[in-house]
Amino acid sequence: MGEASNEELMSRFCTGDSAAFRTLFGRLGPMVQRFLRSMLREPTLVEDVTQTTFLSVVRSRDRYTPGADVARWVLSIAANAARDLLRHRALGVEQLSSTGDAVERPSQAPLPDPGLRRRLEDALQALPESQREVVVLHKVEGLTFEEVAGVLGITSTAARIRAHRGYGRLKELLVDLEGM
């Protein structure tokens, strides 16, 4: 008997099978973490938003349309959560304690970070959030523009335009790298 698909696992979870959720988490967690790492970079934020993403999956399982691509659905939740966090940070309302002081986050040892990867991550961070999420989903996660559009709730034309602008900017930033 073959392995259950993500969609089958999600259906089982929707009917109360928590073990199916844990299996889904094992399959999709690394993808979500990788996406959020490219979007947010900071490990503590990535962990927080990964948790928020799957918390949303648990809390909103009734909003999942049976048969829909679960990976795309979870990625769209991660993108929504990351976008909201970045927006709140831009407004200066995130990471503030009740006293208004910046919250001390526990320091974490950075992941092994070879020079090239750091350059790529730096360049991605320099992109506007709307372009970054399209580039990451398209280039890193390998989604088509139609799939990217579905995840982000935009048209595929808008996804292509954002990607085009993002790649243009990345080329400027990474002009000295070979194999561009």
């Binding site: 959720f21 990535v46 929504n80 909201d84 790529l120 890193v140 390998g142």
Partner: protein, 215 residues
């Protein structure tokens, strides 16, 4: 570009384990209220409050019954607009296009004004802003419910506007049974209050802490 470097980047299994452990408590809880229950709750509160206020008007103003009968088409239009808006605002994407629901909401307001133009009954002795104030006052409770329901999905301004339209249908319904003034009055003092409620919903919803980020 060399994006395989990012694709192959090591993930953090310990972080994932911590996240999964933190989710165990949530998994043990019973399933949360469904979005269908949210739609029903918003409409029940909005229309229930309108119904209660109508009853009060029946007992305090003898002309209310006749006015409500004359405005039956407008009341039907409002129920349809409010129901459609609540469904589009709170259901998952793909069930009802949000753009279509926004157009329907605009048509609902236009229809309300048009119907009043066909059947204006009387000028009121009260100042016109009384209608606006009572509209805003009665919509406050449905608006709170709408905002609580909106917290259960990702921020989405058009959906928040529609939730405000659904909440505002409460005051609009009361306006139809309690006010017989001109179409200009309906457009400015009823429609303006309705638009304010929709706008307030959109502005406040963006700043809410979310219960979930599901689309």
């Amino acid at each position: 570009m060399k994006f395989d470097e990012l694709k192959d980047s090591a993930f953090d299994p310990a972080s994932l384990e911590r996240s999964l452990a933190a989710l165990e408590g949530e998994l043990a809880k019973p399933p949360p209220r469904s979005w269908r229950a949210d739609v029903a709750l918003l409409l029940a509160v909005s229309w229930g409050l309108a119904g209660a206020m109508t009853l009060v008007l029946f007992f305090t103003d003898p002309g209310t019954g006749a006015l409500a009968l004359r405005h039956l088409p407008a009341l039907g239009l409002l129920l349809g607009t409010g129901g459609l808006a609540a469904f589009a605002a709170l259901s998952p994407p793909g069930r009802l296009p949000v753009a279509a629901a926004l157009v329907a909401a605009g048509l609902g307001l236009s229809g309300l004004v048009f119907l009043r133009a066909l059947d204006t009954t009387a000028a009121s002795t009260l100042p016109p802003w009384v209608c606006t104030l009572s509209h805003l006052g009665t919509d406050a409770i449905p608006l709170v419910i709408a905002l609580l329901c909106l917290r259960r999905s990702a921020p989405h301004t058009p959906r928040a506007l529609l939730a405000g339209v659904a909440a505002g249908s409460c005051g609009a319904l009361i306006g139809e049974v309690g006010c017989g003034q001109s179409w200009q009055h309906v457009l400015l003092f009823h429609g303006g209050a309705w638009a304010l409620i929709a706008l307030a919903s959109a502005v406040i919803a963006r700043r809410l802490k979310r219960f979930s980020y599901a689309p």
